[in-house]
Symmetry: C2
Subunit: 136 residues, 2 copies
Amino acid sequence: MNFSTKSRYGLRAVAQIAIAQEPLSLQIIAQEQDISLSYLEQLAAKLKKAGILESKRGKYGGYKLARDAHQITIGEILRALEDDMFPIECLAAKQQCGKEADCLTNRAFRKIYEGIKEVIDNTTLQDLLQESKEKI
Amino acid sequence: MNFSTKSRYGLRAVAQIAIAQEPLSLQIIAQEQDISLSYLEQLAAKLKKAGILESKRGKYGGYKLARDAHQITIGEILRALEDDMFPIECLAAKQQCGKEADCLTNRAFRKIYEGIKEVIDNTTLQDLLQESKEKI
DNA sequence: TAAATACTTGACAAAAATAGTGGGGATTAA
DNA sequence: TTAATCCCCACTATTTTTGTCAAGTATTTA
């Protein structure tokens, strides 16, 4: 039970992009985070595909947010990065309830995932940015 | 971001033990879950060490709950099984807030872990058992 | 005593996930 | 045209997870 580095690197990248006002190149982000450009490119591709980032090629190109920060939840970001997060549907499907112990176990995990969803689907990037400003 | 099978097998084992009224042997649980006895023994050892299960050796021995079901939270169970769940302390410690993006990212994960804690520390085995009875 | 159980330790192995690397191509601003 | 950038795909290496197997020891009930 842990978040992969994909999530950490990816979320941090989105944060850097959100904070920067102009398109930010992956090179700069990769340097700051001390990870390989190629790896970061994979993450950026996922984020773009999910409609979170948009890119501009060529010189002075880079990435910026595809939408306003208050329209992006951290749930969207994490789900874009992690390949199969939150198997809630899966759990729901398997709930034949033939065996009481299985049923109980599934319900426990479902509760947890719902708790996670509650947080990540109701926290926007804007919320986090605002808190950062307040607390620093 | 996923729970390991350890958590699933372990929680299910605890559920089976809770449902059974008499000491339940690992052999039976292993058969029902179709995993090796050795593996289950490893999980049971953790649960015993955490004060969740207690054992009785010898013929007609087995495992039963060490405490009443309403005094056991799923948080206790999962923490006993997963080796290093919820790095909240770690996150808190690293919060130097030198870089805004890092700070923001850490806060995001902290929120999520707090959401998880909220659920698992406030859901007891008894809660789950009761729901099972209602829903079957 | 014999059988069933928990308990211990350690080695091992297969599979999956994680964390990347490498090479080349496409696009754009200057 | 050139340099900076995104973009794409295949591949590899490492680590973690997920177990299994073995060879015993200790305890309890009948």
